[in-house]
Symmetry: C2
Subunit: 512 residues, 2 copies
């Protein structure tokens, strides 16, 4: 057995079922091994950012890593932006990146570059294979680094000759590093800190667990503290039967305002919230300077167990509250922000997966969807735009029976639109709603926040008109049926119909 086959067989034995791939010459022996073993589902992306974003989406829903197959330093770099998002999400992803054969490395061939250097800033774990015999063991070490709580991006560099060489040895599945436990002391201190004027900030895996969400809200009810979550998270369970956990807003002034009233903060699987960017005259830290911060559970610790212990100590019961009202479909009319949010939230079926790269628009969908049937909400976690289309594809590969609805800003969509082709090829039930405002709307606000008084050159750099993008044509060009909608009631009907149909659909919502 060659090195490539030993890696494929070892990963499969550990439960790795999917390989998202955009291979090149240096990965041909992996393509061959995947072909001969037929152990994994191979999903092709036409661009590496699709591959890595899909692996992230898969991981968020499957709760375990897929493999990616990438080609040398430029191929890895093409996938790096979505690996950045995956890292910030703590999504488990295992990258297999082909490198030139060891004997070829010294020759400065056209595709030679510093691959170790290129992967390091976008990986939590990096290793370069050194022999066919140890390649599978290295891969499993990376797998364990990726799959251990809370999740990480691991990258194994695979010199091509180690894949060809015979002598591959299947490696056993290593034990995962368990989530760290929180001390009774920490729980006691957190209990003491909570009360009116305090905020319980919950993140990470806590947000993925309905019981933990109810406990967190129950603790807030019992102590008089508030409960909040970071602005963007790997996955949040929400909808009817679950408490609404307010998220920290993106705009700096709204974020400062939302946190201004607190003098104690207790953190569970998250860190002290900071501004997305620095702005002249604004602080980087969002909590008031006088606020005392206390960590109940680090990201690598078991926040769910910590919350359970905390609930017991403060005598809190799981939240039992009134559901938010069911969202209602909008009347016929133009697609303003509220109508857009109503049209989407009211069309969500039970079990829907929402992928949120709406950026400036559709910000009310989350609020309204609190009263919808239970759903999962996946956000852009690292601020690197171009995550939505691939994330939706990967989530759908993980959960073929759950419809995916992607809230997609138009500017961001253009970074990785190639993912629509993968959605079509794999027959994924993804409904992409393009928020067509035809500008980098968010940057107009940012330009004002740095004190500029924008003239025509600046505005032109933030404008997506001249020519207008036609997302329906783009979608059809990649085999995805598409429809343009200008009316709110029609948008509702289009989404409601699409989520019931197999296969992808793109709806270009013309915003007013």
């Amino acid at each position: 057995m060659n090195g490539a086959e030993s890696v494929v067989r070892s990963l499969h034995a550990a439960g790795t079922e999917v390989c998202f791939a955009n291979p090149g010459t240096s990965e041909m022996q992996f393509v061959d091994a995947l072909d001969r073993t037929r152990l994994m589902r191979c999903v092709l992306g036409l661009f590496e950012g699709v591959v890595t974003g899909a692996a992230d989406g898969y991981a968020r829903m499957a709760g375990k890593p897929a493999a990616t197959l990438l080609h040398l330093a430029p191929g890895f770099a093409n996938g790096a932006a979505n690996l950045h998002n995956a890292r910030k999400a703590r999504s488990p992803v295992l990258n297999l990146v082909g490198e030139h054969a060891v004997r070829h490395l010294g020759y400065d061939a056209p595709l030679s570059a510093d691959l170790s250097g290129a992967v390091a800033p976008f990986s939590d774990w990096v290793k370069t294979g050194s022999s066919a015999a140890t390649l599978a063991r290295d891969a499993m070490e990376g797998w364990a680094a990726a799959a251990s709580h809370p999740g990480a991006v691991a990258t194994l560099i695979l010199p091509a000759d180690l894949g060809w060489d015979e002598g591959g040895v299947i490696a056993p599945t290593p034990a995962l590093r368990p989530a760290g436990l929180v001390s009774d002391d920490s729980v006691a201190r957190a209990a003491e800190a909570l009360g009116p004027g305090a905020v319980l900030l919950i993140g990470g895996t806590v947000l993925e667990d309905p019981q933990s969400l109810k406990l967190a809200a129950g603790i807030a009810q019992a102590t008089g503290a508030a409960v909040m979550a970071p602005g963007a998270n790997r996955r949040v369970e929400m909808g009817a039967g679950l408490p609404v956990i307010p998220r920290i807003p993106y705009p700096i002034d709204m974020a400062l305002e939302a946190l201004s009233g607190f003098d104690r903060a207790v953190l569970v699987e998250t860190v002290e919230p900071v501004a997305f960017f620095a702005y002249p005259g604004r602080p980087s830290v969002l909590l008031p300077p006088s606020c005392r911060t206390l960590t109940l559970a680090e990201r690598a610790q078991d926040g769910r167990a910590a919350l359970a212990a905390l609930a017991e100590l403060v005598g809190a019961k799981p939240w039992r509250g009134t559901d938010a009202p069911r969202p209602v479909a909008p009347q016929a009319g133009p697609l303003n922000d509220l109508a857009l949010s109503q049209a989407i939230s009211s069309a969500l079926p039970e079990g829907a997966i929402i992928v949120d790269e709406g950026i400036t628009r559709g910000r009310d969908v989350g609020r309204l969807a609190a009263g919808a049937a239970p759903l999962s909400w996946l956000a852009i976690t690292g601020g690197s735009i171009g995550i939505g289309v691939p994330l939706a594809a990967g989530a759908s590969v993980a959960c073929p029976d759950r419809p995916v609805v992607a809230l997609q800003a138009d500017g961001s969509a253009m970074y990785t639109l190639q993912g629509l082709w993968t959605q079509a090829r794999e027959g994924l039930n993804v409904t992409t709603v393009i928020f067509a405002n035809r500008s980098y709307e968010i940057l107009k606000g940012e330009l004002l926040r740095v004190g500029a008084n924008p003239g025509p050159t600046a505005l032109d750099m933030l404008d997506l008109r001249r020519p207008d993008l036609d997302f329906c044509a783009l979608a059809r060009g990649m085999g995805v049926p598409a429809q343009r909608v200008e009316d709110a009631a029609e948008l509702h009907r289009a989404i409601a119909a699409s989520v019931c149909e197999p296969g992808p659909m793109l709806i270009e919502a013309m915003l007013c």
Copy 2:
């Protein structure tokens, strides 16, 4: 004057006229400075790979760097693959990459990553700005590194606050590092080595200079040596009146065969040729093991002067030979490889710029175009696919009066297809001919070369059908008119018409 404005004004004073940009929040002060000064043409790309590929294309034709404006580590990474190509081409490019404000760096904000680490593998020169007062000086140091012979990729990291801060100082234009001179001794040794059985390998700026091409061919005629060029080059001048310089083929066995007869090689602005990839049972070095190699001019030296001295020493006159026959338009019929090449080469007007990302198809265009009117040929230099559409855009920005014809493989086109929108927005006369064979054809050969016997999973990973891509729809979605062609004579007419019309056009050539 703030730091951002001092950079813009200093770069402009040195002759920098164009900024290719995909900015984000941390670059808003640069957008503002570009807006207020109106000194540079700002060209927006909808994806960073478009920005960097266009900067490369611009540099190849303008002979000087444009600036790029990129956003943080993920934004840089999105542009890295085409910077890799630019580095391998020795194209002068100056990247301005925004970073978080210094005071914000310690907070692990969502978009934080190791930016210095991310840029290093794809840059020849890197610096991080340290104050508003010195920012322009740093930028000009980078500009000089980029613009000095033969060209380099320079990256300046710009913490956002240095752009806002007052105290910017315009920096003088530094002197460029001159190309190194070649010793008389080296010229004498080269003269001695040349003769039957020797090959003169010319690369770099030599290929851009008609007089040097004629001298090189004249030296070959006078000495009985052969003259050849690397397979992929930044820019080659060719066509009627110029000698045909054979290039080293891409496929390993053809490359070995082409070089098998030589026992001496003299290198001018290039290095010893190596295989693109390592293959089992094949060498990395392409020249025979017994071949003696001698460097007349390193890449950083003046190969043109060296060739002139060499010609004088061996008594060679500039080449005067018979032009290759003018290419003829093909008869009506299916688009096989020869008909495709005929259709394109016979439609090229004088002064055309050819962008070659044809990969497996259209390989005869270069041979046939040797008899066409003079033209410039730009190739994919670093093997990182996705260069064609942006490179064509940048070349056209540099040379608005010269029609650009892009030979574009379909699989490669999908990496940076967003560049079509930039072509439309800027009204660039670019004719993109998509070679629609609907597969990663080159990888099928590579799979066989590593000894695989591909089954359905492997073939599926190299196949672009299911669903078929419709490039005409994709082009129209970005405002570029498009036409699908299945007949060779019709393709000729379509290209001949398009190059005479302003603005971009995409022709999807359905290959048989």
